[in-house]
Symmetry: C2
Subunit: 477 residues, 2 copies
C-alpha cells in the first residue's frame, strides 16, 4: 500500500497521489478547483483555526462575519486593488430566472466590503485601533490550471484587518501578525524565508507586502502567509477618517493579513514520504491511533485494554482513536494509518497486557518505544513533541540547503536546471529584468530580506547594470 | 439610553432597534439581506458552534467542507428539491469579463453537491453509517422583503447529512439530531413546539420534516431548527447505492438537519427587554462585565482590584471583561452593557475592596448580590445558572400561554386578532383549506404533534367536513 509515486523523483505525481490517498481532499467535483475537504484535511484546518483564533483573540482581535457579496462599484473604489483582482472575480448576474439590476461579485478578499463599513464605524481616535478577524470562504476563479489546495477557485482562510491612528502603530501591527504567524508555522514544523515583495508583486493597493515562502521538495517555493501594510491607500479610497485628540482629522493607517487552506499543501509536501502523509501532531485530526494486536481467544481482553488506553489518552486531552475492527489485519491497519499520516501508533497485545505496557511506533522514523502503562500519558506527549521537533529540524535543514547564490545569468540557469531552490542574487530594480527571468527561466524575483539592507555583491544578474538590491529568486507555485 | 420602542406594543420596531443598538448586526451594507455579524452577534454564533460541534463529534459526525458551487444539472437531479429552491438560487454566469460555458449556482443547501459525492464514497454496508457535518455560508436570494437574521440572503449555518443501511437507522438518526438540538435549545433557554410539517410544507425532497417552532412575543412563530427524514428520494436521484451483507444492493436511507444564524433572532426576541438585549450566559460573548466604581484618588487601587477579579474569573473559564475606561461614568457603562445584553455585571469600588467583596447585578431582574471575594467564582457561576433558569422558565411559560384552541373559523379569526399565538384546531387534510387560512388570516398550518396521534375534536376548521388531524396553526416568520 505504499504510494506508487516517488516523492523525490516524481513530486507532482506524488503530491496528487498523497492528497487523494491520505483522504485530505476529493476533487471529483463538478466545478474544477472547488473541492471537498475531507475530515483528515478539514481536521488540519480546524486545528489551525483553533491555534490562530486563540492568538488573535489574545491580541485584541474580534471575530466578525461580513457579506460575501461585493458590488462592482465597491470593488472598483481602490483602482489598483480592482485591477489586481477583477480578472478572477465571479459575478452573480441572475437569481432564479430573473436578471439582477446590477451584478454582484463574490469576495476575492474583503478589503472593499470591510472598509466601506469601517468608514461608518470609525469617528474618533478612541475608536482605534480596530482589529477585525474573519473566517470565511474566498472565490478566486483563476483561469489557469487549478491545482488541489495550491490553486483552488474556492478556498477557506482567515483574514485580519486593522485600522490605526498612526503609521507607526500599523508597523507594530505588521510585526504582531508576523509573531502570530511564526508561532503557527513553528507548530506546523514548517520552514520559510521572510521576504518583502518587490513593488510589482505587492498586494494590489498595499504600501508593501511581507510574505512567507516555504521551500517545497521539488525546489519551488510556496507562499504560506502574507501580511500587508496598506498605509492610507484604502482609507483614502473608502473615506475612513478619524478625529485626532488635537481635533484635526486624518485617514486611518491600515494593515491586512491572511493564511488559507493552501498551507495544508505545504504541510503535506514538507512532511509526507513514500508511505503517505505525515501530519504534525499539533494539527492532526488523530494524534494517536491505537491498534489492538489480536490473538485467538484474546479478542475481548485486548479490546478492553485498548479502550482503557483510549480513555486515558482522551482524558489527558490527546486526540486518540482506536481501530478495533477485526475484519482487517494489524498489518493492513499499520499501513493505512501511516498513509493517513497519523503521527503516532500505539500497539497493545496480550503480551503487552501481561507486562502492563504498550508499544509506541513513531510515524516519522519507525522507532519502537516500549512504555510502562503508568507512564503512558507523559511518554505519548513527549514522543509527539519529539516527532514535531524532528520534522522541524528537517524543515529548517531543507531551507538551508535550498538557498544558493548566483552572480550571472548563466549561474542562475545552471542552478535552476540542477535543483531550483531559492537563489540569492543581485537586481537593478528594473521590472523588465524581472520579466526576462520569468520568461526565460520561469523564476520570479520573490523579494528582499525584511529589515536587513543587504549590499549587492555583483552587478544585475540580467542586464549587468549596477545592482540596487540583493534579491531572492525562485520558481513559485 | 433605554430603547425607544416598546417590546410589547411595537415589537417589529423594537426588534430592529435592539439588533442594531445591541451591536448584533449592521445592515448598512451594499447588498440588501447580506449583513455584517458584529462581535456581539458573531460571538453568540461561535458559542453555538462550540456546543453543537462537541455534540456532533461525540455522536460520530465528522466535519467536511464541500464546494459552494452547484451546477444546474446537479441541483436539478432531484426534481422536487430543485423546484423548491430554484427561484432563490443565485447564479454565477461570468468570471472577469468572460461568460462561463455553463452557469453555476451558489448552494441554497448542500444535498445535491454532497450526495453526488456520497455516490462515489459509499459502496458497501461497512461504509455506513456516514455522518457528515458542515459549517458554511448559504445563499437564498429571497425576493420578498429581507429581515435582519430572520430572512437573510446570505446566512451561516450547520448542516448535518447522514446515510444509513435501513429506514429504522435513519429514524434513529432523526431522534439523535433532535436530542442534540433540544440540548442546545435548553442552553439557549428557548421554548418551542415540535411539529411534523404537513406534506405541502415538507422540505423539498424529504419524506417528512420535523421542525421546532418558537413562539415570539408578537404572537408569531419562528422555525429555529429542522430535521428531515429523506428516505430514499435523494439516494435514488443521486444513485447512492450500497451492497448489503447478503450481497443484495439497496439505496441508502438519508437524513439531513440544520440550524442557522436565524436562531439569534429567537434569542434576542425571547430574552431582550426595553433596556436592550439579554444574551443567555452559555452563548454570551461576554458573560460578566466588570465595572470599577471610581472615587477620586482611588483609581489605581480600584483598577488593580478589578484586574485581579478579571484574572480570577478568566482562570475559572468564565468569559469576563473589565471596562476600566475613566472617560465614561459608571452609570453610562451600566446602561451600555445592559443594552449589549451582558447577563451579569460585577461592580467593585473602594468600599468593596475594604470589605473584601464584590457586588453582582443580574441583567434579568436587577437583583444585587454582595459576594465575599473568596466565594467569587462559585457565586458567579451559580448566578449565571440562575439567570439561565429564570429565562428558561419564562420561555416555557410563554409557550404555554401562546397556545389556544379553536373549533371554528370565527374562533381562529378572533384569536388571531386578539393575540395570534399557536392555535390547536382540526383539519380535513385538503391543501385548499390551508390556502384559505393563509389568504384570509395569513396563518399557516404548521403541522401535527410528532409521535402522538391526536383525535380531532371537531370538524375541519375551514370547510366543516370531517377532520383527519389535529393541527397547530400560526402566523410564521
Amino acid at each position: 500500500m505504499p504510494l506508487e509515486h516517488d516523492k523525490k523523483t516524481e513530486f507532482a505525481e506524488w503530491y496528487s497521489e498523497v492528497v487523494k490517498k491520505a483522504e485530505i481532499v476529493d476533487n471529483r467535483t463538478p466545478v474544477k478547483g472547488a473541492n471537498v475537504l475531507l475530515p483528515n484535511g478539514y481536521g488540519i484546518w480546524e486545528n489551525i483555526q483553533k491555534i490562530l483564533d486563540r492568538e488573535l483573540k489574545a491580541t485584541g482581535h474580534n471575530n466578525y462575519y461580513f457579506p460575501m457579496f461585493i458590488p462592482e462599484e465597491l470593488l472598483n473604489q481602490e483602482a489598483e486593488h480592482f485591477s489586481g483582482f477583477a480578472p478572477e472575480v465571479a459575478w452573480i448576474t441572475h437569481v432564479g430566472n430573473r436578471k439582477l439590476e446590477r451584478k454582484v461579485g463574490l469576495r476575492p478578499t474583503s478589503e472593499a466590503i470591510m472598509y466601506s463599513m469601517f468608514s461608518l464605524w470609525i469617528r474618533a481616535h478612541t475608536d482605534l485601533p480596530l482589529k477585525v478577524n474573519q473566517w470565511c470562504n474566498i472565490v478566486r476563479w483563476d483561469t489557469k490550471e487549478t491545482k488541489v489546495l495550491l490553486r483552488d477557485r474556492e478556498f477557506l482562510w482567515h483574514e485580519g484587518h486593522t485600522a490605526h491612528a498612526t503609521y507607526e502603530e500599523a508597523e507594530e501591527q505588521v510585526k504582531e501578525s508576523m509573531r502570530i504567524y511564526e508561532k503557527l508555522f513553528d507548530d506546523l514544523a514548517l520552514s520559510y524565508i521572510i521576504l518583502k515583495r518587490p513593488k510589482h508583486d505587492t498586494f494590489p493597493g498595499a504600501d508593501y507586502s511581507v510574505a512567507y515562502d516555504a521551500p517545497l521538495p521539488d525546489g519551488r517555493v510556496l507562499q504560506i502567509g502574507t501580511t500587508h501594510n496598506l498605509g492610507q491607500n484604502f482609507s483614502k479610497a473608502f473615506d475612513v477618517k478619524f478625529q485626532k485628540p488635537d481635533g484635526d482629522h486624518d485617514y486611518v493607517y491600515q494593515t491586512s493579513y491572511g493564511i488559507s487552506t493552501r498551507i495544508i499543501a505545504a504541510i503535506l509536501s514538507f512532511h509526507g514520504d513514500n508511505k503517505g502523509a505525515l501530519i504534525p501532531p499539533k494539527v492532526a485530526l488523530t494524534q494517536v491511533i491505537i491498534i489492538p494486536i489480536y490473538f485467538k481467544n484474546k479478542h475481548e481482553i485486548v479490546k478492553e485494554a485498548a479502550n482503557k488506553v483510549l480513555e486515558t489518552l482522551k482524558n489527558a486531552g490527546i486526540r486518540a482513536r482506536a481501530d478495533l475492527r477485526d475484519n482487517y489485519t494489524s498489518g493492513w491497519k499499520f499501513n493505512q494509518y501511516e498513509l493517513l499520516g497519523v503521527p503516532l501508533r500505539l500497539e497493545i497485545g496480550p503480551r503487552d497486557i501481561e507486562k502492563n505496557q504498550v508499544v509506541l511506533v513513531r510515524r516519522d522514523n519507525g522507532e519502537k518505544i516500549t512504555v510502562p502503562q503508568d507512564q503512558l500519558v507523559k511518554k505519548v506527549k513527549d514522543t509527539l513533541d519529539a516527532i514535531e521537533e524532528t520534522l522541524r529540524q528537517k524543515a529548517w535543514k531543507r531551507l538551508e540547503e535550498s538557498i544558493s547564490e548566483a552572480k550571472t545569468f548563466e549561474e542562475i540557469e545552471k542552478i535552476y536546471n540542477e535543483k531550483r531552490g531559492i537563489i540569492r542574487t543581485n537586481w537593478c530594480g528594473n521590472p523588465e529584468c524581472a520579466d526576462v527571468l520569468k520568461e526565460k527561466l520561469s523564476v520570479e524575483i520573490r523579494g528582499t530580506k525584511l529589515n536587513e539592507e543587504e549590499e549587492p555583491f555583483h552587478s544585475c544578474v540580467v542586464c549587468g547594470k549596477e545592482a540596487k538590491q540583493v534579491v531572492y529568486v525562485a520558481s513559485a507555485y
